[in-house]
């Protein structure tokens, strides 16, 4: 029994890594209506800023704060300098532009820090506690706690604040929003800034486990996108639940289905994702889009 719980707990801590990035994807989608492939690149770049600071002796928490501010400015700058030229055009073009940004940002990080993975200090003590024969690392508990706080904050932002409402309106229909007097460009800029700032938090949370390198989030991004889409793409809660689902199902399949084992376990949650999306195209927590004629 404790083995079963251990497998689930391990799955949850993997899921926390996917959820961290998935939340940022959801945020930028809610704020701009785009799936942003540059999310991983912005997160890594901001995390490298934190890394550089910790290298010269700055405490991790302070480095995180600086990285968040840097992330916000970076995101805002990229929106202002690059993405604005694609706004109002074909959304597909904008998505391709975000892929280009991802490549450029990775290249920049590599230029300054190289490709070798470096250890990154953890915000939380690197210890494990034992509860009823199950071992849980304090790092995982800390990561999950921060994620839940961020998730609730995002939910509140979009549900209960004027800024969130305005951002949703802009993402939904920029032209009407502009006609209603909303500062569309500025709101998009804030959306990108917030997404990159959240990316910085996510990056600092997962870097101790993954080691920081320009490619740190390349594979995580795949899981994160799957989580975000399964969760409904516009729902922070959905993204977190879906990420936990993927992490746990993957581990359970690897541990208990002998014919699947470690080689095929990754396929299991993704097949589940396909099945769920066929039955429920809007995702677990997504809003159904209806068009009235």
């Amino acid at each position: 029994m404790s083995y079963f719980i251990q497998v689930v707990v391990d799955g949850l801590s993997n899921g926390a890594i996917y959820a961290a990035i998935a939340l940022a994807i959801v945020l930028v989608y809610r704020a701009t209506g785009l799936i942003n492939f540059a999310q991983g690149g912005m997160a890594v770049t901001a995390t490298f800023v934190a890394y550089a600071l910790t290298r010269v002796g700055v405490p991790v928490l302070l480095a995180l704060v600086v990285a968040v501010v840097f992330g916000f400015l970076l995101g805002a700058l990229l929106e202002r300098g690059v993405m604005r030229h694609f706004e109002g055009g074909d959304p597909d073009t904008a998505v391709v532009a975000t892929i280009a940004l991802l490549v450029v940002l990775s290249g920049l990080s590599a230029y300054f820090f190289g490709y070798e993975p470096h250890p990154f200090p953890s915000l939380f003590p690197n210890r494990t506690i034992e509860v009823l024969g199950v071992f849980v690392s304090l790092r995982s508990i800390g990561t999950i706690t921060v994620l839940l706080v961020v998730m609730i904050a995002l939910q509140l932002l979009f549900r209960s604040t004027k800024l969130g409402l305005a951002m949703r309106a802009v993402a939904d229909n920029p032209r009407s929003s502009a006609l209603s007097g909303l500062p569309v460009s500025r709101l998009l800029m804030i959306g990108w800034g917030l997404a990159a700032a959240l990316g910085a938090i996510a990056g600092v949370l997962v870097a101790p486990q993954l080691f920081i390198s320009p490619g740190m989030l390349d594979f995580v991004l795949v899981y994160a996108l799957a989580s975000a889409i399964l969760g409904g793409l516009d729902s922070p809660i959905g993204a977190v639940v879906a990420a936990a689902f993927i992490g746990v199902v993957e581990n359970l399949a690897g541990a208990y289905l002998d014919f699947i084992g470690d080689d095929l376990k990754i396929a299991v949650p993704f097949i589940a994702v396909i099945v769920i999306l066929v039955v429920r195209p809007q995702g677990l927590f997504g809003r159904k889009v209806t068009v009235r004629v």
Binding site: Y3, Q6, V7, D10, G11, S13, N14, I17, Y18, A110, G114, Y115, E116, P117, P119, N126, T128, E130, F135, S137, Q209, L210, F211, S213, G215, F219, V220, Y223, E250, N251, G254, A255, G261, D262, D263, K265, I266
Partner: protein, 420 residues
């Protein structure tokens, strides 16, 4: 004499040139290009006073560290020797070596186009390239063109295990199977019942370690009680370690090639209260990047194979070969590789093996080069640990086919292993 093209900075140019070279090579290749049957005339790339050697290794990307070292050590040996007058050949002539290196970013397609470009620039032999997938992509072309693709820096058996089938290709460093076997022998010789858990990368890399281990423990009291595999793209290996820890095995062989994942294995196992003796592959056992971050000092013993001297270690500070290496590296190699990985020492030793092959080469042809290269035995190349020698005469193993196990001393270095 070194022609350098730093593709990390000018990759666009190189890519364009490569494509052009590819087209040219495809259009203008004539039957004499490979030089088979041209018995008395010289092969391409060799004159009375020069010979051109090429390599393609990763100089940028995730494998840039080891990749640049496979070039830097070799370059140090070659340039130091060039500066001292040149290489003496078996045909009585002395030649300077033109050494050209290109960046393939660990990308097989790029490695192939680099290889073709080097051929087009009259390369005599392709020496020391790093990487299993990249060299595997080059091998059929080298074979077709009958160009030596030798002393490769990869532990995959493909390049050494059947030299009759692949007469133009040889590996240099010990194969992963050799490493696994060395560990298995240590366990088998302990003469007591031992349980082993294995964690292996789900490809030829991991399988080679398992094969080596299995060969060595066959018929002994050592039993494998749990096995798990992983993909290099996995984010963590916590699930695998949890599964293996449930076996409570005495020993863990962790054939993991990815730095953060190997650190994760070391931290996870001890966090579960499982403290086996651990075996790590030679390429993921660096104290600074793996053992210290992973808290490896907590385990009763951490073993890893070794076959070269670390030129930075105070233990070898008075070693003549180490001094020569350090001088040459500072003068030449340090421009190519900024941080040390063991590959720097390996490729320097490889330069000495190349030198041996030149000395035994009676005619200026690729055939004569291969014959000479494959008849070196008992050669104590510089920087190899005492007792480890180069033997290229076997038809089914790499040039170096023995390793010594060393044991982590709990801090920043290794000490010899006495017994299990």
């Amino acid at each position: 004499m070194t022609k350098t093209r730093n593709a990390a900075r000018a990759s666009g140019v190189v890519a364009t040139v490569s494509i052009a070279a590819l087209l040219v090579a495809g259009c203008t290749r004539d039957s004499s290009a490979g030089g088979p049957g041209a018995d008395d005339s010289a092969s391409p790339g060799i004159t009375d006073d020069s010979i051109s050697i090429g390599i393609s290794s990763p100089l940028s990307g995730a494998t840039a560290g080891p990749g640049s070292c496979t070039i830097a050590g070799l370059d140090s040996y070659i340039e130091a020797k060039n500066a001292a007058g040149g290489f003496e050949f078996g045909d009585g002539k002395t030649r300077q070596v033109d050494f050209t290196y290109l960046d393939d970013v660990y990308d097989p397609a790029k490695a192939v186009s680099n290889f073709r470009q080097l051929l087009n620039d009259n390369m005599f032999a392709y020496v020391g390239a790093l990487g299993t997938p990249t060299n595997a992509a080059v091998m059929p072309i080298a074979e077709e063109e009958e160009v030596p693709q030798v002393l490769l820096t990869t532990g995959a058996r493909t390049f050494s295990s059947d030299q009759d089938a692949h007469p133009w290709t040889t590996g240099f460093v010990p194969t992963y199977a050799t490493e696994g076997r060395a560990f298995g022998e240590l366990l088998a010789n302990a003469n007591q019942p031992l349980t082993v858990a294995t964690l292996a990368q789900n490809d030829d890399f991991g399988q080679s370690y398992l094969d080596g281990l299995n060969e060595a423990i066959e018929g002994s009291q050592v039993k494998i009680v749990a096995s798990a595999t992983y993909e290099p793209t996995d984010t963590t290996l916590d699930a695998q370690v949890t599964e293996l820890a449930a076996s409570k095995a005495d020993v863990l062989m962790s054939a993991v090639s990815v730095t953060p994942l190997q650190v994760g294995v070391l931290t996870k196992a001890q966090s579960l209260g499982w403290l086996p003796r651990i075996f790590l592959p030679s390429n993921t056992s660096t104290p600074g990047t793996i053992l210290q971050p992973g808290g490896a000092a907590a385990y009763p013993a951490v073993y890893t194979p070794s076959f070269s001297k670390n030129p930075n270690s105070p233990a070898f500070a008075n070693d003549e070969d180490v001094k020569a290496y350090n001088d040459a590296f500072q003068k030449y190699g340090s421009k190519i590789a900024t941080t040390y990985t063991p590959h720097c020492a390996w490729s320097y030793a490889e330069g000495a093996v190349l030198d041996q092959a030149f000395q035994g080469m009676k005619e200026p042809t690729r055939e004569a080069f291969m014959t000479s290269l494959k008849s070196i035995s008992g050669f104590q190349a510089p920087l190899l640990l005492d007792g480890i020698t180069v033997d290229t005469t076997t038809k089914d193993d790499a040039a170096i086919s023995t390793v010594q196990l060393v044991q982590y001393d709990g801090q920043a270095a290794f000490k010899p292993v006495s017994a299990y």
